[in-house]
Symmetry: C2
Subunit: 379 residues, 2 copies
């Protein structure tokens, strides 16, 4: 391992720069500590125990997950306060209850009265639960839409009155922050997110129902929010790695992208000014989110490219088509040469791999593999 | 296992209908047997030993793979004639040589003189190789472009004259058949594919270089080709499952889609005529290929939908947004209900899963899980 470098790895491979990762983690951690807000990182991006432990350093260890597989994996790694932030359904309550009986405070979310009643029923059958009610602060995904919050108090009363159920609070995710590209634009979404979730908490408290947790957050709103008043915790996720999409919406700088895909050049096609690499749709994902702001990024851009706007412009399953906005100097990238590709959306790209090869640009420019971290995929 | 049904599985889950799979396999097998062409199925779609064995039944067992991980897995399962159909690079020759020393005829492809020379060098160091030269029959991906075929004889001579290297033949993939949507359109591409690869073989033979294998194929061209003269083997892949993209380009019928994703309804949003399911970007993939012909399919369509054009219209990582072209009867799909979603592109969707839950629509409408097949992912 000590002598392994980027030149020795099989391609495609997922490369993580630990120096950048550490700076990303420290920046978010400091920002939220300074704001007096708890950090509950969303570990769906890294899905890695090592990175999860680094992310919660200096905080109380609470995390967010997106699957029961993540919940089991992080529980097995010693995490005890876990929010499963995808609306729960009755058929998953047995698995939730099983983890809770092992001493893990796995919390669930819902926005549905029938699910609240099913949780009540499962609790009467002997399990315990901790539940947050989901609010839609404007993203138009899950949650009771603000400002109407239809049925909020009905759901809250069922949970509040159920035996062995803790109504732990309210949560929201301002996913629409991903479509803003200025600090002011994101800050406006952040304020919308804050007002919605604090209003929902106030409505519960006004009805005599406690609401200890007021949970919000996305990476952009965590970075650009100007006021956290009333929010008790933030749940940013992709900030650990960042990606082209985060760069383009201004949630990070160009030097803050910790993740890349290592690929080999497998062919030259000068008649169409393209080369092929062995990283295609599976190695990069078909996520094109970053094209919203810069169409020329395709499926990812080439690091230290020898030509302008060099990017993976098309993908088939295991082939990436690399083009550029000027003639490619093919001699600089012979067949067999290695390139690194920055992903559009780190969470989706990383999901094709079961481990990270860790390098450190503060040590030797990031040439040597200094560690490997594993990941949990699937459900 | 015997009593497990679609209602018992954790969601999301990958569901394979064995009855449809068997019909798809038999149809392609019969067609190519009837045409006197060998079948070398591309196992990158299913990546499963069980399905690979079913696919080669009645043929000689040759297969195509897209990664070295697949090569190792299928070699471990007893397959001995394997074509690795992504341009090889020098750094992968040691792994190829290692499998060959175990008695597996793992064949590689290249279109690059420098790689041919590296293969020659590795053979002089003690390994043996079998190589096919890749031809671009019009897809504009890998291969020497037809009709020029620049450098074909130079590459061929290096391989032909190298010790312990077999120049096994030529191969091409008419990927552009995926952008045709009529039998005549696909048949025209198939004829272009055939002419290109047969011409390349003839050019080698004209120079006194043997060319035993003349390999072509994609699912659409295998289905719609009207003349296989001169082709020795075809390499269809996605025909084992089919998908919405194959249906829309006319490579299969609507009843031939063997693969689906089982998901749970996790929330109702009647104010925007949407519901959410727990199958999002990872469970379905972000492949939108099928939108080329029917934009309304989004990221996949709902099986037995209770409303017109009901489909996953947007995805975040673990949330699928389901919309329809008329009001959704939400009472028919309560939160917790299960739906099945047909994928746009089966190869990419399946890659998020490490196993198939197998049902059989000829037995009980496909309710019971009759088997599980594993998959090999990664590289």
């Amino acid at each position: 391992m000590a002598s392994q470098t980027l030149d020795d790895l099989p391609t495609p491979a997922l490369i993580l720069d630990r120096a950048i990762l550490r700076r990303n983690l420290e920046r978010m951690s400091s920002r939220l500590r300074g704001a007096g807000v708890m950090l509950r990182p969303h570990v769906k991006t890294a899905k890695s125990l090592e990175i999860g432990r680094m992310a919660v350093a200096g905080h109380d260890g609470r995390i967010t997950v997106s699957t029961l597989a993540e919940a089991r994996y992080f529980a097995g790694g010693g995490f005890t306060d876990i929010l499963y932030a995808v609306g729960v359904v009755p058929s998953k309550l047995a698995a939730v209850g099983a983890l809770r009986r092992q001493g893990v405070n796995l919390r669930v979310v819902t926005d549905t009265l029938a699910v609240a009643r099913a949780i009540d029923g499962a609790a009467r059958d002997g399990d315990t639960f901790s539940v947050l009610i989901e609010i839609d602060s404007g993203a138009g995904r899950a949650g009771l839409p603000f400002p109407e919050l239809p049925g909020l108090l009905d759901i809250a009363r069922v949970l509040h009155e159920a035996p062995d159920v803790e109504l732990a609070g309210v949560m929201t995710h301002a996913g629409h922050s991903y479509h803003e590209s200025t600090p002011d634009g994101v800050a406006a979404v952040a304020e919308q997110e804050r007002r919605a979730i604090v209003s929902a908490a106030d409505r519960l408290r006004g009805a005599g129902i406690p609401c200890p947790i007021v949970s919000a957050g996305s990476t952009p709103t965590a970075v650009h929010s100007r006021d956290f008043t009333g929010i008790t915790e933030m749940r940013p996720g992709v900030y650990v790695f960042n990606d082209l999409d985060q760069e383009f919406i201004g949630a990070c700088g160009a030097g803050d992208l910790a993740l890349s895909v290592l690929a080999s050049v497998i062919g030259h096609y000068p008649h169409r000014n393209q080369l092929l690499v062995d990283a295609g749709a599976l190695a990069l994902s078909k996520d094109i989110s970053a094209q919203e702001f810069r169409p020329q990024v395709g499926y990812g851009t080439i690091v230290d490219a020898p030509a302008k706007d060099m990017a993976v412009v098309a993908c088939s399953q295991e082939h990436g088509f690399v083009g550029a906005d000027e003639p490619i100097p093919f001699g600089n990238l012979p067949v067999g040469a290695r390139v690194r590709i920055l992903p559009n959306h780190a969470c989706i790209t990383a999901a094709a791999y079961n481990r990270y090869f860790v390098v450190d640009s503060d040590l030797d420019g990031g040439r040597s593999v200094v560690d490997t971290y594993d990941r949990i995929n699937g459900w």
